[in-house]
Symmetry: C2
Subunit: 376 residues, 2 copies
């Protein structure tokens, strides 16, 4: 039986695959965005970019965690000065995040950034944008044109105002994006990735649907400023997950306040859970537990997770609290236990192996999983 | 300007609302599911139901956390015996989760459960199902017919086998559901909520889309056995969020291993983030921080969250690390700070209030938020 990602049922025959939108492909160093390439995960460092060593160490950590692309901010000349070393040492292509200062974009391109993120709304002079376009074209650097909710706010003397309060925010963002895309296309530059982000999840969905209808450039998805991990996970997975389920989105960035590794892990989990990326390591299926439960399963699940964290082979481990759903999940899993009163039944790939006492459950699951991981 | 949920822009004019599927409405105690009613949040207790006091205390806690409906398992006679007291004391309608034993369903209906969750695949005798239907019709009890991935597994002597390996899992689940629905409709019983769950997120999406096309009964959404909170949040929000963004889903249950309060909070966050529920309390917008950051904002965000956790008025508080997106978010927020080097600008409803030193940021945001909350 075909197996992938630890699911026995994960074959085209029975588990559906998401039909994906056709887009152009954009090459970002060794990573392709769009054109049928796997959806890539990006993140952004939060070290000062000018500290090349600290930034490089964080990039390594993020790449090991599953980031395909890492973006760095380059607000100052010292940041772009560090970029050459960062790019040279990084295990993944580096994207430079540029705002306001066209010189930073030119320096980043010269330093070998594989892609530039530009919000042209922050660079008011079209001739300056044109200089960036020409340099990027010359160097083969991709550009993401990323409009944010804030880009449709007009900066007037004493106040800020939406440019048009009578029109939906998503429409305004896409119109603003269209202005920028026209600028790039007029210059013959089509090595583009597009994005329009809001911190309102559904606005992100609507804006991305509009973009996907209008252009075939790859789309970068994310909910901006989604906050602390607990809420950011929900907001981001809802909007990005919704779009991915509609076949929209070629690269994603979840935006968590805090350690960027958390957002990388969550983005990887999102792609794996939609089977857009093959899972590495253990997929832990666990029931929420209910009044049918006859032992304290929660801490055991946590222990198994921790003990199997180093396994790289794709394995599904199910820890179920009762016979209602336990045997069904056991059938789908490489290793499963189905708990009863004071004991549990251990399953290997749907076959009942033996009964284990409650205090042996964790060790039995762990050793069975390690054995199967060794076979793969 | 119209305000709701703390967003200045949250008006029909500019932030889009999700167009929702039309469904029948099903009354579950004081809660309506479908028919245009707000999407409700459900969860399930994990105390032994027979312990009425512990179960009641957990139900109170879950209701305070935002659960509109709480389900309890009733595997034994002792559980249904406790149900009368639980139902009488609960601040929300109670749903009884029944498997295998038709007597438990009859007892739960007699005890006043507002809804029964039944997986008729677990009760093989159709006459027995008919007894439950008649009792529910007589008592006005709603029934959720919930098919799980496991329901399409055939139980044979020594092994378990999918009933049809050549057909997609979602189709098999929906066909199984159709058998059950036909049984209920033949008995003239239409007080139904439907569900088909898998632990595969995209299978849940596909199955729910099929159900929504085929029937106008309200749909209960959830990814089953989604595991520990960190991964369960992503899987559940992706699938449930995707469906909600398509206008599908009238009641939701996120399924986290562990304390059910965590899944309730996440489900509430999901509805709020899609503006399907008005937010109570503080919506904390926070930038992910990047190399542009010039102070350690993360711990400040966490402190503000903790200090404002008791506020019930809907308020948006934005904590932004630099001028790239700070002013734009400040414009959308009730209270905002935009950090710079050693200090930050404090905004109230888009208007710049004053500059505060780094060590005063938390107290300034907290006192400004409390002041505005007091005004509402």
């Amino acid at each position: 039986m075909a197996r992938r990602g630890g699911y026995r049922y994960n074959t085209p025959m029975d588990l559906p695959e998401i039909p994906r939108r056709a887009t152009r492909s954009v090459t970002v160093g060794g990573v392709i965005i769009g054109g049928g390439a796997p959806v890539s995960v990006q993140t952004m460092t939060n070290t000062p970019t000018a500290h090349a060593e600290a930034t490089g160490a964080q990039i390594d950590r993020l790449a090991r965690g599953g980031a395909d692309l890492v973006r760095v901010a380059v607000p100052t000349r010292a940041d772009t000065a560090a970029l050459g070393r960062i790019v040279a040492e990084a295990p993944v292509p580096i994207i430079a995040d540029v705002h306001f200062h066209v010189e930073r974009a030119l320096e980043a391109i010269a330093a070998g950034a594989a892609k530039i993120r530009l919000n042209p709304g922050n660079i008011s002079d079209r001739d300056q944008v044109r200089r960036v376009i020409d340099a990027a074209a010359e160097a083969g650097t991709a550009i993401r044109v990323g409009v944010n909710e804030g880009s449709v706010v007009e900066r007037t003397a004493g106040a800020r105002r939406r440019s048009d309060l009578a029109r939906p925010l998503a429409d305004l963002m896409v119109d603003k994006l269209a202005e920028h895309v026209a600028l790039f296309e007029a210059a013959g530059f089509e090595n583009l990735v597009l994005a329009a982000k809001s911190h309102d999840a559904y606005t992100c969905v609507v804006a991305a649907r509009l973009i996907a209808e209008r252009w075939d450039y790859p789309l970068h998805l994310g909910v901006t400023h989604a906050g602390l991990p607990e809420t950011a996970a929900i907001r981001s997975a809802a909007a990005v997950g919704a779009l991915l389920c509609e076949g929209i989105g070629e690269t994603i960035r979840l935006s968590y306040a805090g350690d960027p590794l958390a957002e990388v892990r969550a983005a990887v989990e999102l792609l794996c859970s939609l089977r857009l990326r093959a899972r590495r390591g253990v997929d832990l299926v666990a029931c929420p537990t209910c009044g049918r439960l006859q032992m304290d399963l929660g801490p055991m699940v946590e222990k198994v997770r921790a003990e199997l964290a180093d396994i790289e082979a794709p394995l599904t481990v199910a820890m179920m609290g009762c016979v209602v759903n336990g045997p069904g999940e056991a059938d789908n899993a490489d290793v499963a236990i189905c708990a009863g009163k004071g004991k549990a039944v251990l399953y290997r790939r749907g076959q009942r192996v033996r009964t284990v006492a409650a205090d042996q459950i964790v060790s039995a699951v762990v050793s069975e999983a390690r054995r199967l991981a060794g076979e793969q």
